[in-house]
Symmetry: C2
Subunit: 463 residues, 2 copies
């Protein structure tokens, strides 16, 4: 039997332990973490403590109103002792840091038996931690945002249903797009602004795209990608155009679809976007491999002209329209003009690659205004054989943001991670190892809470 001293010691230790168990550590408090943190703080009544660390203390504080249960602090991932100390005393970590830091965080999580949630793709280094994580009973749940994240969960839900019914899935297409809501910024002909990392938007699609169509491997080089779009109509929301993502084939194994005949993953834009974007691709304006000359003095117009032939008596507009084979008064030129590409305005950078300069120019018009609302559109198409008869199910998610701060993007990326973290803390998800949300035990409770929060996929039997 313990004596009095022993007992009080045990109680203190238990207290520390409980405190540790109840701390959610959020690393990275950038724009994309806004809704995640709001969600976590909203559940403070559950008795958790939320610690929010960002390299910018201001960023962390901004997300964390003074009357809330959150604690903001300056966090530097390169500070070895800080990162170990913070992770060791957390109950669970949600890392919204740049993806390259995740293996570092995950290694410490395994060491200190702390669970981890991220919204990023599983890297090879992350995958290598699987055995150790299982041994320690630690869950490292990745790809738990929007895309990847909700796409996995909502697709696997239907795929599992089709399998469970004894039917055979033969085709799967999936598209996600972060766009502007229909009533936002009506004069913007692109119907698009940056709602996610602008650099990734500018570089999107570089490399080779592979997919399979009716069992045939198909390849699209980057410079043709934006002219090989698919048209999709979503009742009530109109037409979208989708271009292929590079990595459709790797999902065959992830989803257990090795026998499927058609597999296509793509990105949605509003019709006309891709043909206009293709002009940047064709010019070489999205190239990130070399630094341009004399950038300090360069105007938007000079930038475009540097990719065109030398003919001082011809206008940049005419040279471009002719080179690209588009009408001077056509929709592509209209979009470029609206984006200010022909303006005699200095770019405002001293040096940069074409992609960096293009990003900088586009940010001038493609940054959300305070009141702008964004929209997330996700759409799956499942083709399957039910007793030999071909059937189709479509599954659609539409989410609209409140304003430029509380965006649909930030909600759909952050909420799945936040919900997952809560469910893991509460023991409702208990799947040690390196995971992505493709198991029923993981996706079911997350999708259920997402639906309660208003983010649900509408499934429709098309035929």
């Amino acid at each position: 039997m313990p004596n009095k001293l022993d007992k009080s010691f045990i109680l203190v230790a238990l207290d520390i332990h409980l405190d540790h168990m109840k701390t959610i550590l959020v690393l990275g408090a950038g724009r994309s973490a806004t809704s995640l943190i709001t969600y976590l703080l909203g559940h403070a009544s559950d008795g958790w403590k939320v610690r929010i660390g960002d390299y910018s203390l201001e960023s962390a504080r901004e997300k964390c109103p003074p009357q809330s249960s959150g604690e903001a602090f300056q966090f530097d991932i390169h500070n070895e002792s800080q990162r170990e100390q913070e992770i060791a005393r957390a109950g669970i970590v949600i890392s919204m840091l740049p993806a390259r830091f995740h293996p570092l965080v995950a290694t410490l999580c395994v060491q200190h038996s702390v669970n981890l949630v991220t919204a990023s793709y599983v890297s090879d280094e992350m995958r290598a931690l699987d055995a150790d994580a299982r041994k320690k009973g630690v869950t490292l749940l990745n790809e738990c945002g929007l895309d990847p994240g909700i796409d996995h969960m909502s697709a696997m839900k239907v795929i599992d249903k089709i399998r469970h019914a004894g039917s055979q899935l033969i085709g799967f297409e999936t598209f996600t797009g972060g766009l502007l809501a229909p009533d936002a910024d009506q004069e913007n002909p692109w119907e698009y602004k940056f709602t996610w990392n602008p650099r990734n938007v500018v570089l999107a699609g570089q490399g080779i795209v592979k997919f399979i169509q009716e069992e045939k491997s198909k390849y699209i080089p980057y410079h043709r990608l934006f002219r090989r779009t698919e048209q999709v109509h979503i009742p009530g929301y109109g037409y979208f155009e989708g271009y292929a993502n590079r990595d459709s084939l790797k999902y065959l194994d992830v989803y257990g679809l090795r026998d499927i005949k058609t597999m296509y993953r793509g990105t949605f834009r509003r019709p006309g976007f891709c043909r206009a974007w293709n002009i940047f691709v064709q010019l070489g304006a999205t190239d990130d491999t070399y630094e341009m000359e004399a950038v300090g003095d360069m105007t938007h117009r000079d930038f475009i002209n540097s990719f065109l032939s030398y003919n001082p008596s011809d206008s940049v507009e005419l040279k471009l329209a002719h080179y690209m084979g588009v009408d001077l008064d056509g929709p592509e030129m209209y979009r470029l003009k609206w984006a200010g590409m022909f303006d005699d305005t200095k770019i405002g950078l001293d040096n940069g690659t074409p992609a960096q300069l293009l990003e900088h120019i586009l940010k001038k018009k493609w940054t959300l205004k305070e009141e702008d609302k964004d929209m997330i559109v996700m759409w799956h198409k499942f083709i399957y054989l039910e007793n030999g008869v071909q059937k189709e199910i479509n599954s659609t998610l539409i989410a609209v943001g409140d304003d430029s701060r509380s965006t649909a993007m930030s909600k759909t990326v952050g909420l799945p991670a936040g919900i997952a973290a809560r469910l893991i803390m509460e023991g409702k998800i208990d799947q040690p190892g390196v995971q992505i949300p493709i198991k029923k035990e993981i996706y079911d409770p997350i999708l259920q809470e997402l639906a309660e929060l208003g983010f649900n996929m509408t499934e429709q039997q098309v035929n």
Copy 2:
């Protein structure tokens, strides 16, 4: 005074020394070395010994008739003691090995005070040997073939002349092409076959192309390169089309042309070639970055189809023509058809990148037949101000091969190297250090002998 024994010793040593001085060591006896070796053996009466080393003893022997003064031997650049021994006992080395081995050869040349000639670009490792080579009085002459080589020499000759006359060069364009002679293989609509490394032909132009035009930096991405051609007419030979080489700007410093307004280096093809080649580029068929799937069973037609959309009821021809916006009976389709691109013939490789498969398919039709004659066309355009008046000089080299063995390519690549080696051995070129043939002391005697052999540039004052 030396006694008898000493004297005979000295004579033997002198003999060995003279023998060493008179040995030309040719490393690499591939196709491109044919004319070089023939030239060197033709000068055997000068008392030289020519040693010809190749990894394939057969290749070396083939180049070296039994009654000639040449010695063929098996040479392995990876054999450390052999390479040191051979280089140490040579009077001069001509390396026709793959360019990556040149720094290794050059380092040994400097160590053993042996001169070196190559037809390859100066690498950074080569450049780093300059000080040591000068200290030892060793000449390392590079870029002494056709392109680079004759292009440098013939351009610098005119540039020096213009400067010497007190005029100012304001524009320089230069093109070289390895083509088919007009009377070769009349039915070949490409008017082209491989006369140089096929892999380099397939990959030509990848990366970004930069040049300056009227003082403006201009950029062309790879996927537009073959639609941005220049047309050049050469009296007596008709029209050629040229696409830009990637590295025009680096020649500004090499040629001392920092003040020039226009500088363009390009490659010649016969008209229509580039538009047809552009189809391969647009498809992604020249991509060398990924391995294709199921190559073993792939036909030429499957290869093309893998870059096209899936529509089993449409023909590959129609899908391609539509995708590329060309006529079904147009010149591009005719060239592709002639090349067998739509044939149901197995490619004949088990795996490969698109570029590797394309090279393999094209070799079936683009390999020189025994009697095929190739043609080298080099053309320079110099624009300069003479007393404020704009003038133009064109300079043209045309060389036609004898047959598939003694090609114009092999002559124009090999002869400058052979001539340079002879002139260095004879002390007529004495320019220690890492050199390229842009100094009058180097290019003058080489160009003079090339002219005597029938390879001379025709200079023409255009206006």
